[in-house]
């Protein structure tokens, strides 16, 4: 352990001790790259503010846990990353069960806004002083005082639906009018609702409603599934980066339980992760072209992408749900027979990607549509804790593969691609650069892959009460999985954060003062991945009142129309 690393550790300890002002309850180091502080809730805002101000810590995610069966209280945990020092800092506060409040850290860490609203919704710990404490992930008709992630809430309980409920959305500021984008909108592959406030075609603000299709995956993980079943569910969290989530989960459990995956498994994980990045970036480039009305780019990039999907199918039998990862390594080896095919496809894709890059880079019409559009300054990107290509395009040089090396990235070193401009074009350039880099990484991984087993032998039960944090650089940014091990062969708490979560929070800043026409490509340039709602907004012509129809009213209208023989 270098002296520099020790100095950092000392600095973190010092900040925690000073800022907590005597209420630091406990400080441990569960893993070499993880520091865990328990502070009194009154000191939470001060400690987290100190970490951000003095050490440049980057907020990752919050975890709210109902620990009543264990210790009779609740817990709120904020996870930070010290990227340059390869360190995770966990700051936790116990919350007494009879007084579920904690000071919100959003005033000092703006990027924590959604995370705090989420634990407020899910376990019922109120974030005091939150600037926008509205509901985030629960449906609008969910009864007050019912918290799905509490231990006494059965996973299959369905509260009665209230069809009259409507989202609480902000009204337009004076002088502006509302331009609804979504929930169903041609450019959104998945539904989401952005209520844009516009003056003419200029955007002066926006409000949003997401998370209607919350699937309760975390709940299933800590109530029904087992350690080795969860990777198969984790894979289905995202429609594109399945391997990323299963890897991230497995690494978190491996870390918590002290299991070391064999080198060969780590290499194969790396290869699969990079293949996923290749096909995801190609997919994104096509969608970006589609958003700009440039269908030829869509058709060509998706054609180039297809052989990569076939490759995944040749490796594991499926284009996307691979079923390869398990705690301790992999369930199946990379067959030797796909090696020549893999190399051939890679060479082919590399050639085509170069051609696409030249065509896209020199297209002045594309420059006109993307340069100076949807700009995120480095400062904003840092404060909202943007991740992945949008962060790197704004000059924030973070990449989990380098900051927190996992799988085989300690030996196969990726080069980080950054841009300064922070606009849509910079995001295109970053992704094109990463595409070439990923192709190189797969080749390198293939040539240096060691022989050996692909799965560690796990003899003992996974001990309860251990913490594991794992971060994987997905094509869209870093995915984070947090695991607190439990009994019954399943985690006590499993927390997932997908990269779109912080990036979507940056959209209002990116589209502000822009044009309606730039909104789709700005949203698209964040490469979002989200869920859906089934409500529409209409305007009553007689009263000119804006109102949102509920599902029941819509159904009634449809039926009335069908009966009328319309």
């Amino acid at each position: 352990m270098s002296t520099e690393h020790e100095r950092t550790l000392a600095a973190v300890h010092q900040v925690a001790a000073e800022r907590s002002n005597g209420s630091l309850l406990c400080a441990t180091q569960p893993h070499s790259d993880t520091l865990h502080f328990v502070v009194d809730r009154s000191a939470m805002r001060a400690v987290t503010g100190g970490l951000v101000d003095h050490l440049g810590a980057r907020f990752l995610i919050s975890v709210g846990t109902d620990r009543r069966p264990l210790s009779g209280d609740f817990g709120v945990l904020h996870i930070f990353s010290l990227d340059r020092d390869h360190l995770y800092v966990l700051v936790e506060s116990p919350i007494p069960a009879d007084d579920l409040r904690i000071d919100s850290i959003t005033p000092v860490v703006p990027g924590a806004a959604w995370a705090e609203r989420e634990f407020q919704d899910a376990v019922g710990v109120r974030a005091e002083g939150h600037p926008d404490p509205r509901r985030l992930l629960l449906p609008d008709d969910w009864p007050e005082g019912l918290y799905p992630l509490r231990r006494d809430f059965p996973y299959n309980f369905r509260p009665p639906a209230d069809d009259a409920a409507r989202p609480k959305l902000a009204g337009a500021p004076a002088g502006a009018s509302v331009f609804p984008m979504g929930p169903f909108f041609p450019v959104l592959e998945e539904p989401s609702y952005w209520r844009l406030f516009v003056e003419g075609e200029r955007i002066v603000g926006c409000d949003t409603r997401l998370f209607y299709n919350h699937r309760g995956i975390e709940k299933l993980g800590d109530s029904v599934l087992t350690y080795s079943a969860i990777p198969h569910l984790a894979e289905r969290i995202c429609g594109i980066c399945g391997f990323i989530h299963s890897t991230c989960y497995c690494q978190a459990v491996e870390k918590a339980a002290g299991i070391e995956a064999p080198r060969r498994a780590r290499y194969i994980r790396t290869i699969m992760l990079e293949l996923e990045r290749i096909h995801s970036h190609l997919l994104w480039l096509g969608i970006a072209g589609h958003i700009l009305g440039f269908e030829t780019v869509l058709m060509q990039t998706w054609r180039i992408r297809e052989p990569v999907m076939w490759l995944c199918e040749a490796i594991c039998g499926n284009r996307k749900t691979y079923g390869m990862n398990t705690v301790g390594g992999l369930r199946r080896d990379l067959p030797d027979s796909v090696r020549p095919e893999l190399l051939r496809v890679l060479a082919e894709v590399e050639k085509e990607v170069v051609a696409v890059r030249e065509a896209v880079a020199g297209d002045s019409a594309l420059h006109a549509r993307t340069q100076g559009v949807g700009t995120l300054s480095e400062e904003t990107a840092r404060s909202i804790c943007v991740v992945g290509p949008p962060a790197r395009a704004s000059g924030v040089a973070i990449d989990a593969r380098i900051d927190h090396p996992y799988a085989a990235y300690d030996e196969i070193r990726p080069r980080i691609v950054t841009e300064e401009a922070g606009d849509v074009w910079a995001r295109v350039v970053v992704r094109l650069g990463e595409l070439a880099e990923s192709i190189r990484l797969v080749g390198e991984g293939l040539s240096s892959i060691p022989d050996g087993p692909v799965c560690a032998e796990i003899k003992d039960e996974i001990p309860p009460g251990k913490i594991g944090v794992s971060v994987v650089e997905a094509p869209r940014g870093e995915a984070i999985h947090f695991v607190l091990t439990g009994g019954d062969n399943r985690p006590y708490r499993w927390r997932v954060r997908a990269p779109t979560y912080p990036n979507l929070q940056a959209l209002p800043a990116a589209i502000r003062d822009g044009n309606i026409a730039d909104t789709p490509i700005t949203l698209g340039s964040l490469d979002p991945c989200f869920s859906c709602t089934e409500r529409v907004e209409t305007i009553d012509r007689r009263t000119k009142a804006v109102r949102v129809f509920s599902r029941a009213e819509l159904l009634k209208m449809c039926r009335a129309r069908a009966k009328g023989g319309g």
Partner: protein, 397 residues
């Protein structure tokens, strides 16, 4: 023959040809775009998807025509009607060929040769702004309204450079009749070039041609100027609330406008029905040679072992092409088919350009489009007009 009967006959022929080409233009567009994008395009309905337009027409005609309750009904219903009727009207003054004699009747290959044909075209194209504006306004929908307003602003802005660029050929021809404008382009210049307006001394309208063409893209709301219906931000723009035949009307109007625009461009700048080079150099044999070459190519591919699927269809196509080649050698047929061939060849080439651009360009943003119109197109058109006027005044005749 009675003038009335003759006019009705001509109108029927032109309308029939126009409607068919409308439907098939869409097929051609889908095929060309598909091949640009390495796809096959329509392939299921009929051989090579040739019956796809028919299927589309049936589908659109039998869809339920929904009139939303919140629309301003009279204008909502008027808009598609206006769009399609205006788009089809302008074809009336386009000359497809010179005066011909068939079955003892002398007539122009043109529905009507009014002496202010150019003004008529401008008037009609200005009116068509109302169609989209009405559609956008009467729909009482934000997307429609924005689309309609964008369309109105765009069409009005681009009409200026369009009209100014169009003044160049008028200046040289000294007439507003489209037939006379074509006739003024007869002959050869510099020994080899045709005296089309884009080459004609003393003021070749090559810049005028380019400006007119770009403005024509904007007038017809085509990529890269298809903002009024930009699906990615405005759902479907001004026709968001239209379905069934009302939607089909807008669709037809767009393609009819494309045909009209290419026809006008051909007439004004590319010598209309006049051949590429005079008959004494053998231009009469160009179509025959072309069709014969195509027939040979089709036959070659049809007999190729790799094209087993097409081993019947391609020889049939080759036979048809050979028949066309032979047809063009008959002198009587030549008198009216040759001008038509040259006219359609030029208009078709322009049409291909329209489609090609769609395959290679992203959409512009609204403000970029407007500043392009006012800061570049308008001054360029004005400079072109003044320069042409000066050259004509100094050197003509």
């Amino acid at each position: 023959m009675d003038f009335f009967v003759l006019s009705v006959l001509k109108a029927l022929v032109v309308a029939g040809a126009l409607m068919t080409s409308l439907a098939y233009l869409q097929w051609v567009e889908r095929k060309v775009i598909a091949h640009i994008q390495l796809r096959l395009g329509p392939y299921r309905v009929g051989p090579h998807g040739l019956l796809q337009p028919l299927a589309d027409v049936i589908k659109l005609a039998t869809k339920e025509g929904i009139v939303p309750s919140h629309v301003n009904k009279p204008f909502y219903l008027l808009a598609p009607f206006l769009a399609v009727s205006l788009a089809l009207t302008s074809i009336a003054v386009i000359p497809f060929g010179p005066e011909i004699e068939a079955f003892g009747v002398r007539t122009y290959m043109q529905l009507t040769d009014i002496n202010i044909g150019v003004l008529f075209l401008l008037a009609i194209s200005s009116l068509s702004v109302y169609a989209v504006t009405f559609a956008g306004w009467a729909s009482n929908n934000k997307y429609s309204l924005l689309g309609g307003l964008r369309a109105a602003a765009q069409m009005i802005s681009y009409e200026l450079p369009l009209a100014i660029a169009l003044a160049g050929p008028l200046l040289i021809a000294g007439s507003l009749s489209l037939r006379e404008i074509v006739e003024a382009q007869q002959g050869v210049t510099l020994g080899i070039l045709p005296r089309w307006m884009i080459f004609q001394p003393p003021a070749p309208q090559i810049f005028g041609f380019v400006i007119f063409l770009i403005a024509a893209f904007a007038e017809t709301n085509r990529v890269p100027f298809d903002l009024p219906e930009a699906e990615n931000e405005l759902v479907a723009g001004f026709h968001t609330e239209y379905s069934s035949l009302k939607f089909a009307s807008f669709f037809m109007a767009e393609y009819a406008n494309m045909i009209t625009m290419t026809a006008i461009t051909t007439t004004l700048f590319l010598g209309g029905w006049l051949p590429l080079f005079p008959a004494e150099y053998g231009s009469n044999f160009v179509p025959s040679i072309l069709f014969a070459l195509l027939a040979a190519a089709a036959l070659y591919h049809g007999l190729h072992p790799a094209r087993r699927k097409d081993r019947f269809s391609l020889p049939v196509v080759a036979l048809l092409l050979a028949a066309a080649a032979a047809l063009f050698l008959i002198p009587i047929v030549q008198t009216f088919l040759l001008p038509l061939f040259w006219f359609l060849a030029k208009a078709g080439a322009l049409m291909f350009l329209f489609i090609w651009v769609r395959g290679t360009m992203p959409r512009f943003r609204y403000d970029q489009l407007m500043s392009f119109a006012w800061k570049f197109m308008f001054p360029a058109a004005a400079v072109n007009l003044f320069a042409s006027a000066l050259l004509v005044a100094l050197f003509a005749r």
